[in-house]
Symmetry: C3
Subunit: 351 residues, 3 copies
């Protein structure tokens, strides 16, 4: 089950052009393309007639033509022509999906189109358009349920054990002051470490040679958006103030994720890392590109997913749920609860 | 569910020899071989004792010997020897299947052997033995339910969109006069185009340089036999008469298919193309061999099958059925209805 | 369903060291390793917190540290540390499994640890430690239910048909005097052939040039241990006495198997062949190594398994059971009955 009345990232802008591109989002087969005026479009990827995916067909002007019997659909999803006959059955209509394109990303609305309000898309990704920032981006398909990624992003203590060669070290798990705040549908987890040994990436990129203050602030906008602000400064500056942890202070970066379920057991991670542009921008970029962080997480996700599927097949455990909670679970527990409430509300027809 | 009291093609003659050859037909595991006098034989491919497929064993004279404990079966399926003991359990008997071999094809009867009447095999394939015709043949395993192939063969408008580089062009979908006739268990779909631009293969092989009349006559003998007669002539001859469309007129060919379910999601297409022998027979053959027609259809079938399986897994649609009917569906709707009636009659024990 | 209150082989000694090694036994995910003092240990391979297999983590001294959030477990399975908090939830405990290491093999107890009595491990494998014997050993993963291997090892008539190039020939199936004896939980099948032509391996290794007496004595200790004593002698010695068939007489060897279910459809065969050390020991070993016997059996097992799964999927047959019994099934029928009784007793909470 997925929350449908919500925006999700469905593609990077450069993935979609004048070609019929299939993609499954929330278990729904979708064909993505651009009309002649360059706007992205998304239709159900199944001909109403005999179920051939329309992505196997042709884009003729702004018409999507089925590759089997030539049925033609306009961008609204309406079938406008059936070769060999003069009328078109009035019910011959594909579902079409609202799209918004911003900051190099394409967002899709999977539920009731009447509720698709553009303002609901968080502005996390906008730094990609700011010349004061450098950006790295990508799409990573992962063989796991999306909740396993939520668990990861709302408990960053894992950096100590999953990413010890780059952005993690023991103090991240052991010396952080952790705060969790849920307001409305949002969750914010703050993790502040004061006067700790810097992790390797902070030495390499931040240039520290003594202890530092460091913070990780995760903002979660359910169901699928995450912003992680990472900042640091020399420990000599004393306990960081609330104002300082809203920025990066001496050195830091932000990570933005669009986590979009493909199916119940596969998920797309659309990711973007941004860091302030400075003289050594090319070197910064090369260092960020070399870090294996996303792949280290992927290895964990996919091993968890296989473990959970094994247990589930064997009837010992049904749900993708934690078994024993620890203190660090506070953030993800909040996040999962909000998702459950959203699902319940959708099931009841509420907002 | 499959119609069992019926003949199906199970092999090309040259596939079966003095070797135990496994093949699954209508979900039943079968071992095919020839006895010493050259006659084809078909037995259930599971030893009654411990389920080893007999195709893993040995053919010793006309005896099939299991490769595990040496149980021996005669061509009737009866177990005639159990090594190490003097008696044979009277129930130790494999199912054996009636076979008929004709025109280079082997036909199998999957239901009650008492009802296996050779005359029920249609004579579609006999042109393969006629020296006035050339023949191309083959077996193509396809990952789809057999009904998707029925849909294709009873609505040839698809040539315009699936085979546009060879035998199809727009007029095939848009300018055909289509007639559908069901009589008894047979369906006949006639498609006649008058004064149309020839498709590429008709230019290359038929040698036309102006408009033509063209026809496609599909005869369907359920559950598994199809004959498609393709004919054409210069448009200057005026509307083709009923007599002319029974033959090929100036240029044409026939296609014969034995469509045999392997499982619910896989099917064998046994196919044969025949064309009148003329001076340039070698060149004709080379051109027919080069056409990607069967593979183009296979790509559609397998994409449809995956689409339907996805929908079905997700509980949104159970059956392999069309959703919105168009006029061109008349023939396949007839064909599917006859199959459904045959299945009902078999379920009720009728003929 | 598996018998759990029993010892099974889970590894060869040399497979397990100071590395976290995952292995599934009776459908349970287990991580195997050695503590610093060299003793083998086995824990449930799932962190209690978020299900990551512990085999993806690290071995730090005698502590198993989870690779996700660093939870630490001691060899008893108890969680002794959760990074970032001062207390450990008292229920944070992995299942740990009793192990015994003997003769180069590691044995695991999968059920109630209170019942794990070392004396219940049969002494089959001890000849591996006897300098008078040579040994070959290995682990073979097989894609079949373990009962198919039981069937094989308790009916050695199959040598005539599965291993005709080495240890089998027709007399093994046709001229054996077969006896089956069940006492308590054990089954013993004796097969004695008198004055028969030797199989090829008996010519090559035993050096016979005339007829021989030959015997195969299988001892089965359910659920997972098998000993097969193979002996032979010149036929001129007359019918072999009960004493002689307890040994190998002029030439022979023993085979020891630990048959351990991995899942319902996959099994580990831990095998050991021992033969008396003599002058030509190197040549003997080379000949044994070259025989394809285990692979010939594997081919049969896996073909049976696929056949049974096909039948089962199609709803025609549920159980992995013989359909028609022959006389040679006496031993395996005994063996299967004992297993069924053990399963019933475990289900009822009995011994």
């Amino acid at each position: 089950m997925f929350v449908k009345n919500a925006w999700y990232v469905c593609a990077m802008s450069e993935e979609i052009g004048r070609r019929l591109t299939p993609r499954t989002i929330l278990d729904a087969p979708i064909v993505l393309y651009r009309t002649q005026d360059g706007r992205p479009a998304a239709l159900e990827d199944r001909c109403v007639h005999r179920r051939l995916p329309l992505s196997k067909g042709r884009l003729v002007g702004d018409i999507v033509q089925c590759g089997y019997h030539g049925l033609e659909y306009e961008v609204s999803g309406r079938c406008v022509r059936v070769p060999g006959q003069t009328t078109v059955p009035p019910t011959a209509c594909l579902k079409s999906y609202p799209l918004v394109e911003r900051h190099g990303w394409i967002f899709i609305w999977m539920g009731d189109p009447a509720r698709a309000v553009q303002e609901a898309i968080p502005e996390f990704f906008k730094l990609a358009d700011d010349p004061a920032w450098c950006v790295l981006r990508g799409i990573l398909p992962i063989k796991c349920n999306h909740l396993l990624i939520l668990d990861n992003l709302l408990d960053l203590s894992h950096l100590a054990y999953v990413h010890p060669s780059t952005i993690g070290n023991t103090p991240v798990a052991e010396n952080a002051l952790v705060g969790t705040k849920a307001s409305g549908d949002r969750v914010r987890v703050t993790r502040v470490m004061t006067d700790v040994v810097p992790a390797q990436a902070y030495i390499d990129l931040g240039g520290y040679n003594g202890n530092i203050n460091r913070w990780q602030i995760t903002e979660y906008v359910p169901p699928g958006f995450y912003l992680i602000n990472n900042g640091s400064e020399s420990a000599s500056r004393g306990t960081p103030t609330p104002e300082r942890i809203e920025g990066q202070s001496e050195w830091g970066f932000q990570v933005h994720h669009g986590i979009t379920p493909e199916t119940a057991s596969t998920t797309f991670q659309f990711w973007q890392i941004v860091f302030p542009r400075r003289a050594q921008a090319a070197e910064d970029r090369a260092r960020f590109e070399k870090m294996p962080v996303l792949i280290e997480d992927l290895v964990v996700y996919e091993a968890q997913q296989r473990a959970i599927e094994c247990l589930s097949e064997r009837g010992r455990e049904g749900a993708v749920n934690p078994v024993i909670a620890i203190e660090a679970d506070a953030g993800l527990t909040h996040g999962r609860r909000i998702l459950e409430r959203m699902l319940r509300e959708e099931a009841n027809g509420g907002a």
